[in-house]
């Protein structure tokens, strides 16, 4: 296909109008570990698989779900190191916004600025796009919000979404299970069930991570003990 001749350079359109490097970045995301998010009526929950390359890895040192601000958290599918860089940039942008306007950054603004960074890396020389898609969960004056940001820099607000290896099964499951008036605890149960759908092996508090934010506007990553409680309820 004519496309392959244009796939080496990020800043060149292919004849079919695509930027092939971004397609490849999305493929990198699609082969990453599954992550998902659900927006409930009174909060948001995000969750991810935490499959480590070997049992020798100290799993307590790995944290895939990160805070951007006290009331905004983020999870990813794709390349971990790219995620770290984006988290660092986003935290700085949130802090700069806070210093300038003395207001905690609204979720949409932070998502937009992060997406702008990702887009810049699709239109500059000598760089490659980020190989991650982000799920940003936050609670501000406009209520609970869930956004997905792609390597191209486009972002969407979702009621529930999934990314990574198991995306199609997970999304089908979520479409069936999602209701508008779901509460946060129900959403957490649904998230666990969705992860379980495509999980290879035994699901436990050691190989998944869950983060939630409620009306208290404080984003928290659940401790393994809390995850065990939810897993027991789901059984």
């Amino acid at each position: 296909m004519g496309d392959s001749q244009y796939s080496f350079s990020l800043t060149t359109f292919s004849p079919s109008g695509k930027l092939v490097q971004i397609e490849h970045a999305l493929t990198a995301v699609g082969s990453g570990q599954t992550s998902l998010g659900i927006k409930a009526s009174n909060g948001v929950v995000i969750a991810t698989e935490k499959k480590l390359p070997s049992i020798l890895v100290d799993e307590a040192s790995v944290q895939k779900i990160q805070h951007l601000t006290p009331n905004i958290g983020v999870v990813y599918s794709g390349m971990g190191p790219d995620f770290r860089v984006l988290v660092r940039k986003s935290r700085k942008q949130a802090e700069q916004y806070n210093r300038l306007y003395k207001e905690p950054i609204p979720v949409t603004q932070l998502v937009r600025e992060t997406a702008t960074v990702m887009q810049e890396f699709t239109q500059s020389g000598g760089v490659r796009p980020f190989g991650v898609s982000l799920l940003v969960a936050g609670y501000d004056d406009k209520g609970p919000q869930l956004y997905q940001v792609d390597p191209s820099g486009s972002y969407f607000s979702w009621k529930a979404s999934a990314m990574g290896k198991n995306v199609s099964n997970a999304k089908t499951f979520l479409e069936k299970r999602y209701t508008e008036d779901m509460e946060l605890d129900d959403a957490i149960h649904t998230a666990i069930l969705t992860l379980k759908e495509g999980f290879e092996g035994e699901i436990s508090s050691k190989n998944i991570e869950i983060g939630k934010i409620g009306a208290d506007k404080i984003f928290r990553v659940l401790t393994p003990a809390e995850i065990d409680d939810y897993l027991a309820e789901v059984e």
Binding site: H67, R88, K89, R91, K92, E95, N98, R99, V117, E120, F121, Q123, S124, G125, G126, V127
Partner: protein, 274 residues
Amino acid sequence: MSQSAVDVPAKGGFSYDLCKRNDMLIQKGLKAPSFLKTGTTIVGLIFKDGVILGADTRATEGPIVADKNCEKIHYMAPNIYCCGAGTAADTEAVTDMVSSQLRLHRYQTGRDSRVITALTLLKKHLFSYQGHVSAALVLGGVDITGPHLHTIYPHGSTDTLPFATMGSGSLAAMSVFEAKYKEGLTRDEGIKLVAEAICSGIFNDLGSGSNVDICVITKGNKEYLRNYMEPNPRTYVSSNGYSFTKKTEVLRTKITPLKERVEIIEVTGEAMEE
């Protein structure tokens, strides 16, 4: 390469570019604008379980009291607070900036901020501005290594002390501390001593006045006691307000319009030629 991909370190320090121009203007007779100083008595002491900071609440602009109840104890981190003396804008801006940097640092490291980190960020900034940022600070907090109390001078030097005072009322407050401070004070004794020191500044120094603010920081807890003591309450002459019984007579009314009203009379005639 786009600017966001490369992080250039911030250029700091005093820029001397406009000094020549300023000298020229002063020679021509321009009076430089005066700034809002906090006058001030600020103190801190270490007690048995942590740190107590205290400050008065008067902000002066020359001989005038500009703010009767300003806040001089600034938040740096959940476990670190900083009192500021000197130019109000400078203390506000510098503590705000370092507080922001500390928060970013906390996110990156996942740990609570240390007092010495705040100290180093502040002194580096003040030194790079060679004393032109007129902020004299008393920084106190409790972190994983214990309670700490430091003073920072506008040129960037610092001291680590068990009890400290700064500001125009510092001598009055220090006399109280030197007489009555001892190690191992309890919380109530510490608060009483701090309040006494600030009151000494309030009553004996013109640049300090109004109320006493106190902040108690212990391991894992902080109490910001705003207006802990109000030794200078306002006394109003009449609580019912004033009433004027005799109405003022109107003798004459003359209204002068500020803009002239001009009447335009349209003459319907031939249109202007092109």
